[in-house]
Symmetry: D2
Subunit: 355 residues, 4 copies
């Protein structure tokens, strides 16, 4: 870390700054640049916050030289993190595809959309049993009975399940049913919850906070990683802006930026970002073209009857069309789409039924 | 609620919209305006979300006529909510004053600043024992031993205590020590936590999320109120903007807006909003001039040694000057400043020591 | 337009509202919905602003039914606007490609990069002769001598020229040299300038204001269109956000949204949006995957020596790689890339030199 | 300026960086801090942009040590700029008060509100003759005939006139009629216009761009100052945010920040910031409590009939009440309110009429 002092800094202030650095276990070096005194030190230990120096008299500018996150950093871990869930692979080059309803509303609704998606080769089903809703009077999800429905769908289709967990107390329950735990945008800085999902074994999809910087997001991932769970995915789902023409702004530039900064897979959520079903496919393609490791998309067999997010949900037929487009797109990018080969699968089924 | 249909809406679509309204227990009325079909209903029951109609074919515009919050609404409860904590009063016209360190770092630091503030007549001490920090490597607070220090300070000074609670599991513990529970900006939409503080008896100070709209904020309050705890204060602490010249932007317009929309007291936090101690006093005065029911301000006896937020912490001597200014300011606004009269108090002490 | 009145609206207020509507030349219709009085009218004439009703006593909600822009609207003009400049085509399906230096710094620098780009088949050269700089002490461009250099490049390479115009007084001069006039982000709502470029014949590229909504942007285009110049392109160049990790946020969702709302071509500028050369190619691909009609990209033969925007400028060799990628990408999207076929062109040259 | 190099910087890169610094006329100094090479120089000449170094290989961090604005800087000019217009004084301690209609709609409307304001002692009348409107179909102002009305009002009431100028070509015309020229939020970075108002003698009120940082705003002021016109006021009028509950967010923290950074007077515009007349008075008081040197407020005798901004316009009776409140408020802040003493004035009138 480098501290550039004010032109007016006194010898007493310089000494106090050096003392503070020593008290933290580091060796200060005093030099000068551009007629200013510069005090610096090299930190081998835990990250040192700029905040610890900002109120010291005489300090003008504080320049951290390392990111505050370490486990999430690409510099520290050059190889891509690759997460395997069921027969799906997330990270490492291919494009994962997760889809399903916003909410698990009931068994029939969930089975209908899950069967359709399984028939398209989708390997990972999303669906909310615990729903964080802006109003306390909105539908809050089916809770454990929703998880049971998701488990039944997994049994029937072989799809892995991703679902949101809202409360520390629910982590064991949700982890007992789900293959991937989702942390929603409102909980990106819910640190007890991050610690709780970090202390269990399921992979975690961490949505970006609505107005979180990329650095804050990586530090939120660091909370999970530092508890021992290395299987974290980052999900861009649209940030807040001044324009209400779309629900959020899909920060597509953040995707290649993250691929530089971190080894963790990056997933795009065009449904929440746009809020309109007819913008979902173009933004999904954009996310992949920018380098996303996967997509998570809201799908409903009857969007007009959805209890939540109907306006941004695709019908299964549109998912089929999107998958066709994504196959061509990923091929043109020298990447693969991690969806089951249904021709092969049908052949396998024939073999199985003949046996 | 009023639904304006597309010019192209068909009779079948209109019928389906009416069916949806009936299925929710309301009676649809079909009319027209500006050559469009308009379907409307009057909702007496629980709030109906616009989202339930947004995916119905034929719907163009959705116009809710009531705010989604009800318990928080000024329309439903015209009289100001007044919260009494110790000998302090929050809401109802006077200006409450809460002050203290960002973090409870140790007993000596806390006592020093608490004694200084008590000597100025401050009735409510702030201080964090559980600290939500952006980085997992930052100081996270003293936890229960921090609460014990706060309780000792209360015993010694008579000041009420406000402190943050981060986790549902900690609510009983924190409520056992604190007089007011604080929900921080990162947890404004942590619904299990809101429900937990709503289900206990201590008053709650609810900080605005960094990018929460006023409506989302009031709905977060509604989560607490709907659990039975009516003693909720709203705390404006700066919102996110594009400019990093200050830590946040203090949304001063939100104060008079909230005074129209809700009966809940509104507190201003100029310390977090600005991030710089020398901007705190002007913004504190601005908050009061705009109608805030109180202030919460970070104070440290030695800001240069603070473990967190030193740069935005006032020294006690500056708090004394601010209180002098606020006395004159509130008088000019025909309001009072809810701080103990230390002249009187010293006189009482003399009497007590003579007895 | 539909006006929903307050529950408390009086007969006198309703009458005044109807009078106001009549005074604007429309026929008010009074009805009711959800126990509210609703006053509406159908406007055949010029757009009526909601603002004209917002201060009328008794008015609660104002619902415009048509966008305030008309000439820019897809509803009014379903077919794509296609703009031809030299041998380049913008709009109508293919992907146009404009590239060049931020600033025209001198003849040698401009020729070097222009020759490299012409050699790659690029049809449109960008380059600034009038530079809007945040600081008055920054390089402001070569002005007319910069335009002369651009004209010389056009003569030599056959590329069309796009360059920015900053001042009404310079419009004739710039239009005399340039093939496309660029209006920069800072001037999106400089209405005299919009009117001036609307009153001349060159196509106009209109960059989005840093915090302009999509509607404000389309209304800015309407200023140009309403002066008689129908050849307007919209350029997304990144909007302002709270995160400084990238220079702006490339609002990729705005691309498919604009393709719905308007017939005007939409161009993506990943250079200004990201501010970092190594994020340019991924975001360029994302823009195309989302449906952009073209790209505009900053290129410099020696970015380290650039007088402006060096950090976000690609070297020509990277442009070559990007074009290769875009050829494959556009093919996978059933679109074409509007770049000269250099194989063919070299063959033509051989023929020409033999003749 | 201090450049911190990457850990991987080579001797060749260091040499190239030093060469670049020398080529700009400065002497590079090479040192080290925290195991990094640091290259620095002291710039005595014109401001050097960080951008000139950002693309140089080996550069990691760039640390400018001086603000890019100089004439606007408080460091360079410690004393407050005080601007005198008619018998009004702006800057230097007192609170100036400008009020009037959004638009000059006609003679009768303007006279009615001007007479009312003059009767309250208001010294400066605002009123728009050239209106920048988001839609080309909105009322654009009366242009020169509007200026004539304003001049007639000045003749009759003795009030000074502030009015907006939109176009370089109109600067001489507007300056011939107005006492203060206003640059609107959309034109904050219209550099030719800034230069034009900088090259004439009237004081200028420079509104902050809707998403301009404080630094960008001061640099816009620098464009005016560097043309020789030192009489510039800065007007905070609300910045863009994610919340549409108010028209903008009044950045009250920017007021004390600007008082530190610059010697120029700072004016608050609570009308445009809030968009609602009933929020204007609280935010006006907040601006003054935060240290603003003045206010500019929209007033209309009949807001329901206003052609623009009716919803945010105060009636004269409410201005009277606000002035009464501001008198008490400024007294409590040991400041004065720069409004004519109407008691005295009436007495003078009696004397005059007796003479």
């Amino acid at each position: 870390m480098i501290l550039v002092l004010k032109a007016s800094a006194t010898a007493r202030e310089i000494a106090a700054i050096c003392d503070r650095i020593r008290s933290l276990g580091f060796a200060p070096a005093v030099g000068s640049a551009a007629e200013r005194v510069v005090v610096s030190f090299v930190g081998a230990g835990p990250a040192i916050e700029p905040d610890l120096f900002s109120a010291l008299p005489g300090v003008d500018k504080i320049l951290p030289l390392r990111p505050a996150y370490r486990l999430a950093s690409r510099a520290a871990h050059p190889a891509d993190t690759v997460i395997r869930v069921g027969d799906a692979t997330i990270g490492g080059g291919n494009v994962a595809f997760m889809a399903g309803p916003c909410s698990v509303e009931n068994r029939a609704q969930t089975l209908e959309v899950a069967d359709a998606l399984a028939g398209l080769g989708v390997k990972i089903l999303r669906g909310g049993a615990f729903k964080p809703r802006t109003s306390p009077y909105s539908f809050q999800g089916l809770h454990e009975s929703g998880l049971e429905i998701l488990a039944a769908v997994r049994e029937r289709t072989g799809m892995a399940i991703i679902t949101e967990v809202l409360a520390v107390a629910d982590v064991p329950l949700v982890a007992a049913y789900a293959d991937i735990l989702q942390i929603g945008t409102r909980n990106m800085q819910n640190y007890p919850l991050l610690a709780a999902v970090g202390a269990q074994a399921r992979p975690v999809l961490l949505k970006r906070g609505m107005s979180a910087t990329v650095e804050e997001w990586l530090l939120a991932a660091e909370y999970i990683l530092s508890q021992g769970n290395g299987n974290v995915m980052l999900c861009e789902r649209g940030i807040r802006s001044f324009d209400k023409a779309t629900r959020g702004v899909f920060d597509v530039s953040a995707i290649p930026l993250l691929k530089k900064l971190t080894h963790l897979p990056v997933i795009g959520d065009p449904s929440h970002a746009t809020g309109h079903w007819d913008l979902v496919a173009p933004v999904a393609k954009a996310a992949v073209a920018a380098g996303a490791d996967g997509l998570i998309i809201e799908v409903h067999a009857h969007p007009d009857q959805a209890l939540s997010d109907g306006a941004q949900s695709l019908r299964p037929a549109r998912v089929a069309a999107l998958l066709t487009d994504l196959r061509r797109l990923t091929a043109a990018l020298d990447r693969g789409l991690d969806v089951r080969d249904m021709g092969l699968r049908l052949a396998e089924r024939s073999v199985a039924s003949a046996a």
